[in-house]
């Protein structure tokens, strides 16, 4: 079969592939198709689709791109190894939600219309994911959370649950952040929260952790609106409340804005900032400016290529180099999304193969049956169970900081 003819057919068949995206990825797809067309019999290579609803066009955001790379590298490996369901390639469809829940929901609807689309990967924004929960259960489509950390994403009353997460959750993050404040010697803590489901999820987690005796005292919580321009105003409220450290629950836009605005504050008023990981989803370092390094700024992480299994890391990095021209591990932006997405794709492929069909309900069931997955971010003997759709464990959570060159490095490595 003439490969170019196949390409034309594929493009035609791809029902909702965004044209711009497609054009950008033509070389990649071309390569894949050439490869598949060479090894898979033509009647058997009907692709199995996976969707990604990401915040692509968000300003300065790197999370969606990072997740997509993780997915593509995983799919590349899977397809190279013969695909799923006896040689059917797995293929990615992406849609941009611009971090807007309404767009996310719209994207889910569109994905649901695609035949042989087995699951949708969700992006960084918890509000988007939270808003999609009703819909995915209504439509019966699996939602794989590669970043969003709001507890509600997996903690809900839908049974069977269609939401699976391999990522941090606030229930783990907030204790880690609070514990870290103790390490900083701070006993009185202020917390800055966005007025969203993510913010409320963290507030709840913090409240829950307050019940412990060893927990630092949360003197004050301040809530800011999405897109808040005056982050310093909220910081000052905490400052005047007399806190010793600030826990920042924010994404990169608000986070970098706060750091940038802290330049106007006297150095003795610059408190240690212990940040949730939303800030790592974008160009935090570039937007924060020099101020970032003058601060005691630490951020919670779940995964670092620096501490990953070297064997798997090298395998992935060689493919990243090939596919995306990423030379070093330091060059991987938003590494948590990258790692989580990569592992989720492999778990999904296992599940599809287990159930032997693209039936979404059955794929969902199969996801709870995947065993002993050795992934980039860790080893998961039972990634998902009917009781728990959270693959990541609390022990995997650690604190990191931005190195001078902007690379996120675990604090444990720094100390060495």
């Amino acid at each position: 079969m003439n490969p170019s003819k196949t390409l034309r057919l594929r493009i035609k068949d791809a029902p909702v592939e965004e044209t711009i995206m497609l054009r950008l990825r033509i070389p990649v797809i071309f390569l894949c198709l050439t490869f598949f067309s060479a090894i898979v019999p033509a009647q058997e290579n009907k692709p199995v689709y996976v969707g990604f609803d990401g915040e692509f066009s968000l300003l300065n955001s790197t999370s969606a791109q990072s997740i997509e790379r993780g997915i593509r590298i995983a799919l590349d490996e899977i397809n190279e190894a013969g695909g799923v369901l006896n040689g059917r390639p797995m293929k990615l469809m992406t849609r941009d939600n611009r971090s807007i829940p309404a767009r996310g929901r719209e994207n889910i609807r569109r994905f649901a219309e695609v035949e042989d689309l087995v699951a949708v990967v969700g992006g960084r924004y918890s509000p988007v994911l939270l808003d999609e929960i009703d819909l995915v259960h209504e439509l019966g489509i699996v939602l794989l959370d590669a970043w969003g950390s709001a507890d509600g994403i997996t903690e809900h009353d839908y049974r069977p649950s269609y939401t699976f997460r391999l990522s941090l959750r606030d229930r783990y993050a907030m204790p880690a952040l609070l514990r870290h404040t103790l390490e900083k010697g701070a006993r009185r803590v202020g917390i800055m929260l966005p007025n969203t489901g993510w913010g409320r999820s963290n507030a709840k987690a913090a409240q829950r952790y307050q019940e412990r005796e060893s927990a630092p005292k949360i003197l004050k919580s301040v809530w800011y609106h999405w897109g808040e321009k005056e982050m310093l105003r909220h910081y000052r409220i905490l400052l005047s409340a007399g806190v010793d450290a600030v826990i920042l629950v924010a994404n990169d836009i608000e986070g970098s804005r706060l750091v940038h605005q802290l330049a106007a504050v006297d150095s003795d008023e610059r408190l240690p900032i212990i940040s949730h990981w939303g800030v790592t989803g974008g160009k935090m370092v570039e937007k924060s400016g020099a101020m970032l390094h003058k601060l005691d700024f630490s951020v919670v992480q779940t995964f670092s290529l620096f501490t990953a299994d070297p064997q798997i890391r090298d395998r992935v990095m060689s493919r990243a180099k090939r596919l995306f021209d990423i030379q070093r591990i330091e060059d991987v932006e938003s590494p948590v999304g990258f790692g989580h997405a990569y592992d989720l794709m492999h778990i999904l492929a296992h599940a599809v193969n287990i159930v032997g069909t693209t039936n979404r309900a059955k794929v969902r069931d199969a996801l709870e049956q995947v065993r002993d997955y050795q992934g980039l971010t860790g080893s998961y003997p039972l990634p998902f169970t009917p009781e728990s759709h959270d693959a990541l464990r609390m022990e995997q959570v650690f604190m990191a900081r931005y190195r001078e060159d902007g690379v996120i490095v675990p604090l444990s490595l720094e100390r060495k």
Binding site: I100, A102, W226, G227
Partner: protein, 829 residues
Amino acid sequence: MKLAFLNTLRWKLSQKIAVGTGVLTLITVFVLGGLSYLAMRQQMNETLHAEINESVQNLAQRLDDKLAAMNSTLSSLSENTLVGNALMDSIGREIYLRSFLADFRQINDIPVTVAVTDFRGIPFSRNNERAFVVAREWLAAVVDSGERRTTIVVDHDNCYFVLAAPVISANTGQPEGVVVIQFIARELLGSPPYQPSSYSRYLEDVFTFRFIETISKQQRTKTIGRAKPNFVAVSAPVGRSGIFASNQMEILVYSNPENIPEHINRLLWVYLIAGLVSMLILIPASRVLANSLTRRLRLLEKATGGISFDTTSHNRLPVDGYDEVSHLSRTFNSMLERLESTYVAQRETGKHLKEALTSTEQAKRQAEAASQAKTEFLANMSHELRTPLNAILGFSQVLEKKCRQCPSQQENLGIVLRSSEHLLTLINNVLDMSQIEAGKITVENEVINLHELLQDVIMLIRPKLEEKGLWLQLEQDPGFEHYVRTDPGKLRQILLNLLGNAAKYTDEGGIIFRARSHEIEPDTVHLEIEIEDTGGGIAEQEQARIFEKFTQIKRNRGHNEGTGLGLSISKRYAELLGGEIGLRSELGKGSVFSLSLSVSRGEIDEVAKRADYSRVIGLAPGQAEFRILIVEDNKANRLLLRSILERIGFQVREAADGEQGLKVFFEWLPQLVLMDIRMPHMNGYEATRSIKASPAGETCKVIAVSASVFREGKERLFAAGCDDFLGKPFWESDILALLAKHLGVRYLYEGAASKKQVVLQKLEPSDLTMLSGEWRRRFHAAIEQGQMKEMESLLEEIAPHHKELSDQLRHLVSRYAFNRLLELTSEYD
């Protein structure tokens, strides 16, 4: 313009004038009415348009203000971080956004629906449950455009404004939702939509918005209210700034074209009715006017027609007024006069020729001498008879005035007066007869009160009847004409004669005096007066002779009084008046004398106006003294004149003949001389000539007093320089009238004395002669130079001596009648 067709109509002139005036009035009213109707309508429309325009501009301004308020609310909402946050926070927003939006129930008192939608236009939060009238696609298009948009939507009979502003996501910088404000357009207009004014009621409660729908880029029109009327009154741009600029929105309002003329159409009715009413009034009014004009024309026509039949008739036209018809009448009269005199002269000549042919020269000379003698005799006779009679009459009058408090004597005096008058009449009869013979009698023609005349006659005859124990019954028809035009003296004479005869020849029973009249033409009445007695009657063979002069028939016991001229004169007089006297009589059964006479009708205000000098009781105050000289040889008459004049208040001196009169004149310089003509030593003619020849006599008036009644004498008097003539016997009022006429004397009248005389008489230049020439010159100069103060002081100067004159002049000055004042003073400059 030729109105020849009017001449072809068989209408009277008055009808033509009346109808013509009516038609012209109607046309004028309609043309003027129509023009002013059109002008009013035009004006009304212009005013209306301007008013409506202003109303609409006001409306548009209010809309602008309200829309601007909406717009700013919309802006602040779309930029509000809470709204932006809500885009991200689908769970939390359920609580806070709902309560936030709930605060926007009303904007500027306009109930609004405020909602926030996602990028597909699906609302996720709103302040009420009212349905959205715009399609989701439109809202999604607003999100896509990233710009604020406005549209107007009609939904279920309501017209809505929808304003939408995209909500920009802070994190993407892209529009991710939209804030929508929706409200009913009617609320925006307010209630009432226009400022109440007298013109706003012409505006319909219908509005159309015309705008460009910026999403579809199409022109749209949306109408509020019932079916769209046809007439667009005016449009005004709305929302000229802000987000509406690209909409190029306009509001169109409508007025009801039927309502406007209704107002003015009432005017049309007013004109129509005014036209018809003025026509209805003018046609009869001009008919009356035209009648009054053509009446005289008819008379003219009648008179002209009469010439050919009776050249000697006295059909002179009444000349009253100064218009063309009067001139024509005057000319006609003078023409008639000439015609008549020519005719008489011809006849006279013919007669003389005949006489010359038929009589000898001797006979002619004798006749001439006899005629001369007769004339002389009559002249003397009249003088000799009238002079003593004058004294009787005159002193009776003086007595009557003096004894006003004793009515019984007054009655007696009245009888003396009337009897004297009758005596005078008898004398006059003889003279009259001779004048009739000589063809020298003239007929007066004036309007008289017939009723009064009858009463007078009865009053005169009553003493005689009472004396004989006869009764008199007046049977006056109720419709008996009141005022007629005739010769009162002759009519009175006729009736007195007839009644006198009846009384004379009746010994028992009485007299029935019948009077009736009937109209024979519009202005002519026929009088029928009968005097029936219960006397012996007249034999048939005597009846024809009875009217001959100097004939007295033997009746009953044979009366032998009178001249035998009475009936003859009466008959002649009746004929002169255009009537006749008839007689029905049977011996032993009484007689009926009847006077039938056609006279023209008169009006009460035509009754000859004679100043009522009988009521004079003295001189009006404020006049210079009047000096009057009486020159009279008869002592009784001199005394009579003196007593009359002194009673009134004149300064009087007397002289017994012409010589003495001149002496007194130059000594005393009177303003007026009463001059007897027949006097010893120097007669009145000579004395008058001397007075008038002197410088002092230039301003002096001379009035001749004479018993001579012949016209020749009068002419001689005027030739001698007399200014006027007083016939003997004279009445007191005659003298007073002459003095008023020549000296401008003003009198006080009985009954008016108590009242202050405030009536200002018309001043004549001669009235100022009593003031010095120097004063008049100064006053004239002051008027010319308009020096009011000077005028005032001059008037003050004369006030003590000439109060009334001063007051009259002051009155003129106060009214600035300077022309009149100059006129009064200039003649003597």
